[in-house]
């Protein structure tokens, strides 16, 4: 109660101050642009909370906060790190109780859930110029034509490969423009049972594998209006089938083996010759046992292109923030050019701001990381809906059954399409 009374007084004082400021500018100047500052709420005292989930990125985030508070000395920003395991559970509770952070990190699967419930503040073009970011990311964080998240960073998918295993098998290294047929032929040639080497690993994670191939085959996981699941199409069957076949042919570790041992580890130790993985994996593979032999190629051309799925985080402002103007300004700033330059220098993630990614590309000289940036232009936004996790849960139930051969690709996907659609229909 006391708290509330205080804030009401604060607000009244702030409002009064604003009126006085307006009156002042009205008298002394004849409508220059400097008067904008008085009314935008950035000059009042404010303490913002900024919640993130990656402790490794905290130093970079702190630098960004310091830059922002240098420009706006009245604003203080505290960074909270909440581990990924509890992040969304805590965020949901806090936001529904009205005690959520002012600014926080958002991801694709949770975005529409928060935006459609009115918990995020829209960021208009005066704050975020969308032409500075890859279009797919802007689409990912837009709902009904409004942008709610300022794209912070992004990741796309590439084919990591082991040069040593290619040379030993006498297979030419993959080059840009290679096709699905080239890729499949290489997988077959690289698989060496007696040496315990698999050509590929059909990881059961959509973003890394079958989401990409479904779009490359001309299908879709979910339509652009986010109300129709695309798993029932023959193109989707083609996109998932390619991965199921690798396992069936003994060219990939089984789904059981991959659950026991992370396939990325098998790749890093030279037991798997090619592995589709995100740009986030590059630094780890460079440090792995086979590090000096590992390079990366663009995704192979399918019947409808070689699109990669793109995903990235965004900074969002809580619609209930007591200092909304400051929260929005910081969300935009933390994804802006200065912030992107700070992130690029640390080399952990690819900043989303166009033209700031060079430092990231140069961070690992032995790998052709440029492909991840090139793919961003043609990339497909990560498939989401309002309650993404509802049908994602069904996906992670059924896809492993398909990949383990327990059900056929067609029957499994028909089941998945029906059950996922039923979950999607509940969103209306």
């Amino acid at each position: 109660m006391k708290q509330r009374g205080l804030t009401r007084i604060h607000r009244a004082v702030a409002a009064g101050a604003t009126i006085v400021a307006f009156a002042f500018t009205g008298c002394s100047t004849s409508g220059t642009s400097s008067s904008v500052n008085a009314g935008d709420g950035l000059n009042e005292q404010a303490t913002l909370s900024y919640t993130i989930w990656d402790a490794a990125q905290k130093p970079a985030m702190q630098k960004i906060v310091d830059e922002f508070t240098k420009i706006h000395p009245n604003i203080t920003i505290n960074i909270d790190v909440v581990g990924t395991k509890d992040y969304w559970t805590k965020m949901q509770t806090a936001v529904s109780a009205g005690s959520g952070p002012d600014v926080f990190w958002m991801n694709g699967p949770n975005f529409a859930l928060y935006a459609s419930n009115g918990t995020l503040a829209p960021l208009d073009s005066s704050l975020v110029d969308t032409s500075n970011y890859p279009k797919a990311l802007v689409d990912l964080y837009s709902l009904d034509g409004k942008l709610y998240g300022a794209p912070k960073d992004f990741d796309t998918i590439g084919v990591f490969y082991n040069k040593r295993l290619f040379q030993e098998a006498g297979v030419p290294l993959p080059t840009a423009g290679w096709t699905w047929d080239d890729f499949k032929a290489d997988v077959a040639k690289l698989t060496n049972k007696s040496a315990g080497v698999y050509g590929i690993a059909s990881a059961p994670y959509g973003q890394m594998t079958f989401y990409n191939t479904i779009y490359q085959a001309g299908g879709e996981v979910i339509n652009a209006a986010h109300d129709q699941i695309g798993y029932g199409s023959p193109q989707a069957a083609e996109g998932v089938g390619i991965w199921a076949d690798f396992i069936k042919n003994g060219q990939s570790p089984t789904i059981q083996q991959m659950t026991d041992t992370w396939p990325g580890d098998s790749f890093g130790s030279g037991k798997v010759a090619m592995f589709w993985d995100g740009s986030w994996g590059a630094a780890g593979y460079a440090k792995s046992a086979e590090g000096k032999n590992i390079d990366v190629a663009p995704l192979p051309m399918g019947p409808h292109g070689n699109q990669s799925v793109i995903h990235g985080l965004a900074n969002v402002a809580n619609a209930q923030s007591k200092h909304l103007a400051a929260a929005k300004a910081f969300a935009a700033f933390a994804s802006g050019k200065e912030a992107a330059d700070i992130m690029a220098a640390t080399g952990t993630v690819i900043p989303a701001f166009n033209g700031t990614q060079e430092a990231w590309v140069k961070a690992i000289p032995g790998m052709n990381l440029q492909i991840f940036l090139d793919e961003a232009t043609s990339a497909i936004p990560y498939p989401i809906s309002k309650n993404t996790s509802a049908w994602n849960a069904i996906e992670s139930d059924i896809i492993p059954q398909i990949l383990s051969g327990k059900v056929s690709v067609e029957a499994g996907l028909a089941d998945l399409a029906a059950k996922a659609q039923a979950e999607l229909d509940k969103e209306k």
């Binding site: 936001v95 529904s96 419930n117 918990t119 994670y205 659950t259 026991d260 041992t261 309650n387 059954q401």
Partner: protein, 320 residues
């Protein structure tokens, strides 16, 4: 038992207590004593009300609603409960949970034997053994799961290495639908062993030596003594261990969640428990109403099974 009778037969009178309580009762009447009782029970009751009663009532309310991630419930009556038994995810989860509980119950005879052996008079290094058996109880489940996943690993696991020396070709234990639930239950037994042994050891130490001496004089060997003396006299402790054990294993979550390794484990349908399903629907799919119904269904099942156990105890538990 005859031997022990005289020891407990003598009535103990504590005159001091009589003196202390009697005047107080006469002076202020029964109302004050009720007030005092309330005062002492109050803090515990407040905690109980805030952390158990309120959440229970609230969960019942949520289970009657369709509720999404940001609240906004719509009342649907008993719809969530009607869906429960038609949902094969819930039904298989229930079956998995019962199978898990039955297997983990095997831990009780194992714990009883180990406790009896640890209670052998003159056993050397008793403290070391007790510590070793109790170690899994104080180890983080996440660490336990990590270690056992390495042991069970199909390609590189130490279990398959050992079996290899015996000429047996092992499987990928936690990702093979035929072995996963049993493999995880074994870890469940191992984790619970320490607690069970401690409770049973305490029970064993309250059995008078005279009972064992009498058995020895009558010519009973160690096995006969165990079956005819130890187990019947220990039955109150065994009862407690089995009630706690069943409640715990019906609510199993952490070890299954952690042993599965990731959400893409193909044996999930064969292994997931009721609480795992509750977690999936609640925190995974944001369907809180249905998740609450699952939680309450489990509570009713636990209550019923515990009631049955208390009813059955008349048939086998010996209280002196």
């Amino acid at each position: 038992m005859k031997l022990t009778a005289p020891q407990t037969a003598a009535p103990i009178v504590d005159p001091g207590r009589e003196r202390a309580t009697a005047p107080a009762r006469r002076g202020r009447g029964p109302h004050t004593s009720a007030w005092w009782a309330l005062l002492f029970v109050g803090p515990t009751f407040a905690g109980l009300a805030v952390f158990y009663l309120y959440p229970t009532v609230r969960t019942i309310w949520i289970s009657l609603n369709d509720m999404g991630p940001f609240g906004r419930p719509t009342f649907v009556g008993l719809d969530n409960y009607a869906k429960l038994f038609a949902d094969d995810v819930f039904v298989t989860a229930l079956r998995n949970t019962f199978v898990y509980s039955l297997i983990v119950l095997l831990g009780i005879p194992i714990a009883t034997v180990i406790a009896a052996l640890l209670n052998t008079p003159g056993l050397r290094g008793r403290g070391v053994y007790r510590t070793l058996f109790f170690l899994p109880v104080v180890t983080l489940p996440a660490v336990v799961a990590l270690v056992w996943r390495l042991i069970y690993n199909g390609d590189y696991g130490i279990l398959n290495q050992a079996l290899g020396y015996l000429g047996i070709r092992g499987t990928s234990w936690v990702t093979n639908p035929h072995t996963a639930l049993v493999a995880i239950s074994v870890v469940g037994i191992w984790m619970g062993l320490g607690t069970n042994i401690v409770i049973l050891l305490a029970g064993l130490q309250s059995i008078p030596d005279s009972a064992f001496e009498a058995a020895k004089i009558d010519g009973a060997g160690p096995v006969r003594t165990f079956i005819s003396i130890t187990v019947p006299l220990l039955s109150p402790s065994i009862f407690i261990v089995s009630v706690i054990g069943i409640i715990g294993s019906l609510q199993v979550f952490d070890i299954i969640y952690l042993m599965l390794g990731n959400d893409q484990n193909p044996v999930k349908p064969e292994v997931r428990s009721v609480v795992y399903t509750f977690y999936q629907f609640g925190f995974g799919r944001n369907q809180y109403g249905y998740a609450a119904a699952i939680g309450l269904a489990l509570m009713v099942i636990v209550l019923a099974l515990t009631a049955v156990q208390f009813w059955l105890q008349k048939k086998w538990v010996h209280y002196e």
